[in-house]
């Protein structure tokens, strides 16, 4: 017995993973106010994201917005009845857009800096799922120079080039223990990727507008991520060497179509339908520079499914200075049963929103938005980690923005023919 040498631990690191249905629908304060509708509705320069084709019909302007995401996540483990709340965190995605019509030309230039993907959940370090995840933080910025070409007063096309920057942090506890406590692992890395954004916008008649849009897939490559391990017992230090890793995270492509109808001079309604090609996210693997029995490159399955989203909203121009908005959406989850996990406890979700704009003067207006998201309660057993329980997430997202019109000329709040 004395001579028995210690066998190496064969713990899998594969469950360290990046976020799930991790898209953020907060790309423009006015659009948030009406259920994030914006494909067939030329609201403002945030059309750089929503539909580059619409830029031809937008007054030259600059729009800035910021939101505060305050998610509350609860998990009740099925077998133990133990309830865990994720720690309170606030995330602040932002957007900045501008467009400019080249004089005597059908060309409009635009640029956008926005954050279409991201995720963050932090669990107590002693919670029952800590070997799966204790913390995930995924941040991402798209920078998109854009050109729109106006064919005629009825039709315009737009195209944008997307350069994406991101950062990912993942932490979990390890089931190895010494007198101080458990070991932990942290994966951290910066990523970059490229893509594009195409759109077409139609003025179908004086009341009805429409658009189609395609956002390409962006593969975020992490080239030199760092894997660091803390409080590893000396006997196992060679099994958990601090090392580097590479990985690739696909941000999915998406197609969308939308329409807006101007019922009268004060009242506009809009609808969007999005279809996101989440099936590109089949698995996530980390390729470690040093492989050991604990650091293996096996990918962890995600097997996301393509998902629909349906959005509707209205805007009412109440007075010369005030517009108000409201809307709602239904967002289908890409996460199949058996794959729900704490990195993003996803399910179909329902959002309701409201917002408004107050014109300080002819050039400057302030936008307000408030969005409530209810992720429908979901019970699942993860096939990989066996973590079994019911997840529930509620999110409240207040936001504020400012718009500045470059040319002092405001005829219409929403641009139609």
């Amino acid at each position: 017995m004395k001579k028995l040498s210690l066998l190496l631990l064969s713990m899998s690191m594969v469950s360290l993973v990046y976020a799930g249905g991790f898209k953020i629908g907060l790309q423009g304060q006015k659009q948030i106010g009406m259920g994030h509708v914006g494909i067939g509705l030329a609201q403002d320069a945030s059309s750089v994201y929503f539909n580059p084709g619409a830029l031809s019909f937008i007054e030259n302007q600059i729009n800035f917005g910021v939101s505060a995401i305050v998610p509350r996540v609860q998990f009740i483990e099925t077998n133990t009845n133990i309830s865990t709340f994720a720690e309170n965190q606030t995330f602040t995605p932002f957007s900045l857009y501008a467009n400019y019509h080249i004089k005597n030309s059908p060309v409009t230039l635009g640029v956008g800096v926005y954050t279409p993907f991201g995720s963050g959940v932090k669990y107590p370090t002693d919670w029952t799922g800590r070997y799966v995840l204790t913390n995930i933080n995924l941040t991402n910025v798209f920078i998109q120079p854009t050109v729109a070409y106006k064919v005629n007063d009825f039709l315009s096309f737009g195209a944008g080039f997307v350069y994406s920057l991101g950062h990912v942090t993942l932490e979990k506890e390890l089931p190895i223990e010494n007198s101080i406590g458990e070991g932990s692992a942290k994966l951290e890395g910066s990523a970059a990727g490229f893509g594009y954004n195409l759109g077409a916008y139609f003025n179908l008649n004086k009341r009805l507008t429409g658009g189609v849009v395609y956002h390409s897939r962006v593969d975020m490559k992490v080239d030199n991520g760092s894997a660091t391990f803390s409080n590893i017992p000396t006997a196992l230090s060679s099994t958990f060497p601090n090392t580097t890793f590479t990985t690739e995270l696909p941000l999915p492509s998406e197609a969308g179509v939308g329409f807006a109808y101007k019922a009268n001079k004060d009242f506009t309604v809009g609808v969007d339908v999005n279809y996101t090609f989440w099936n590109s996210f089949e698995s996530l693997g980390f390729d470690y520079a040093d492989n050991t029995s604990a650091l293996v490159d096996d990918p962890s399955p995600r097997n996301y499914e393509n998902a629909w989203a349906f959005r509707a909203g209205f805007q009412y121009d109440a007075s010369r200075r005030v517009s108000v908005r409201a809307g709602a959406f239904f967002d289908q989850t890409p996460v199949q049963n058996g794959y729900v996990n704490p990195e993003l406890p996803d399910n179909d979700k329902v959002g309701i929103s409201m917002g408004g704009t107050y014109w300080l003067e002819d050039r400057i207006s302030i936008d307000f938005s408030l969005l409530y998201e209810d992720v429908i309660k979901r019970r699942d057993i993860n096939t990989e980690t066996q973590l079994s329980g019911t997840y529930k997430t509620k999110v409240i997202i207040p936001g504020v923005g400012v718009s500045y019109l470059i040319n002092k000329k405001v005829k219409k709040r929403i641009n139609t023919l």
Partner: protein, 457 residues
């Protein structure tokens, strides 16, 4: 319109304040079971014995204590444990008397190789004190107890009996495990006895007697299935007479536990020259059934059925199990298992024939236990099947647990008893079968909240 706006503003504000999810779990209920007075009767497994000793922290992490904690959420009452509160490193059973528990530590072997493995904790063992004044106790887990000890009063004798038992019974030498259990007025019981009826024989390499009339299980005797059946029946009959229901568990196949599966049968690595030398030596003695080759070779073990007049030895096979107490230093440096006159003695090997006997006895015990559970209408915990899932490996909330010694994370450093995390899985399996039998909804324990193996920093 303005009114609508005000109302929706108010609505959103309300949502903002009600933003915290409020999921509720399933309510804990006892169903048809009466958990007001729970008594657990068993051997070392039931006592919380781990790392080769019984110690206060181990008792706190025993599966009956975990279960009682969950029962309390469904109407369960107090659960008294005869805790070993004295200082010391635990109270371990050994032929050399009471020894401390094992911890992971570094040792250097005869070849000068230092490695991490189980070592005896430094410092004295725990000297038990008598706690009978605090009785009756709900946890009657007695390390070393075989099934037939359960109703024997002499087994609690302070001088001749079991020191784990004598320290908490009402009248040493008179009170039995069963009488102590009944004194606690059980409404619900757990019975898991019979492991030692096989284990003594198996851990001693099958040197003991098979089905003797007056067995000494710790001395290595194998207990007759009829005797096990009779002992368990006596307990269950007494419980049924009280109207108590409960759960009875079966016996674990010894090849599921690391004590028998850790040391390989073929650890002898040779170069061609070494093999040639050994082959010449064996040939000189007229031993024809042993040959050595370059690479991994099986050890040689004693086998009385071999025809050779002097060297009744043969190579071990994958069907022969080496016990964890085999001194590997002697294999590495003293020629054990290699030289013709150093074949492994019977006590270190549970050979294929003995394994077959042990398995046959395990099956017979388990058939009897299942029949008893059925006839008394109590829950039946198939721990044999459950512990086999340890062997194949299981995943609990993202951590992998298996029956590998030390690294598997479920067994303690003695290779026989689970560690607290392994005991938590056992507790949950008992709770699962109790819930199924009695339509109860007793919640499981959080396995991750219990320690696994503690490494040196």
């Amino acid at each position: 319109m303005k009114k609508l706006i005000y109302i929706s503003c108010l609505g959103m504000a309300l949502l903002a304040f009600s933003c915290k999810p409020n999921l509720e779990g399933t309510a804990a209920t006892a169903g048809d079971a009466d958990l007001t007075s729970f008594v657990a009767i068993g051997n070392s497994l039931t006592s919380g014995y781990a790392d080769g000793a019984l110690i206060y922290s181990g008792q706190q992490n025993s599966f009956p204590v975990m279960m009682a904690g969950q029962f309390a959420k469904a109407g369960g009452g107090a659960f008294k444990v005869p805790y070993l509160l004295n200082s010391g490193n635990g109270m371990g059973l050994s032929s050399a008397g009471i020894i401390p528990r094992r911890v992971l530590g570094y040792t250097t072997n005869c070849l000068g190789v230092t490695s991490l493995g189980p070592v005896l904790a430094s410092g004295p063992a725990t000297t038990p004190t008598n706690v009978s004044a605090g009785g009756p106790y709900n946890l009657i887990g007695v390390p070393g107890a075989s099934s037939f000890h359960v109703a024997i009063g002499a087994y609690s004798s302070a001088t001749q009996g079991n020191p784990y038992l004598s320290r908490f019974v009402e009248t040493p030498g008179v009170s039995s495990m069963l009488s102590e259990a009944l004194r606690a007025k059980p409404s619900f019981y757990l019975l898991w006895l019979g492991n030692n009826d096989i284990l003594g024989f198996a851990t001693n390499g099958g040197v003991g007697a098979i089905s003797p009339n007056f067995p000494n299980p710790l001395g290595g005797d194998l207990i007759d299935p009829a005797m096990v059946q009779g002992a368990l029946n006596a307990v269950m009959d007494s419980m049924a007479n009280r109207g108590a229901k409960g759960v009875v568990a079966n016996i674990v196949d010894i090849t599921s536990i690391p004590f028998f599966t850790t040391i390989p049968y073929n650890p002898i690595n040779l170069r061609q020259g070494q093999a040639d030398t050994l082959n010449a030596q064996y040939a000189q003695l007229g031993i024809t059934n042993v040959t050595w080759k370059a690479g991994a070779n099986p050890m040689v073990i004693e086998d009385t059925t071999v025809a050779h007049p002097t060297f009744k030895i043969r190579h071990a096979t994958a069907q022969d199990y080496m016990v964890l107490t085999l001194p590997m230093d002697s294999v590495s440096c003293a020629g054990w298992g290699v030289l013709p006159n150093k074949a492994l003695q019977d006590q270190y090997v549970l050979d294929a024939e003995e394994v077959a006997i042990v398995r046959s006895y395990t099956d017979q015990y388990n058939i009897a236990i299942e029949a008893l559970a059925s006839s008394y209408g109590v829950a039946y915990a198939d721990m044999n099947k459950y512990m086999k899932s340890f062997k194949s490996g299981l995943v609990y909330n993202g951590s992998e647990l298996n029956a590998q010694f030390v690294s598997g994370g479920a067994f303690s450093l003695d290779g026989i008893h689970p560690n607290p995390r392994g005991y938590a899985l056992v507790a949950n399996e008992f709770i699962r079968v109790i819930n199924a039998q009695y339509n109860a909804t007793i919640p499981s324990v959080d396995v991750t909240s219990y320690d696994g193996i503690i490494f040196p920093n």
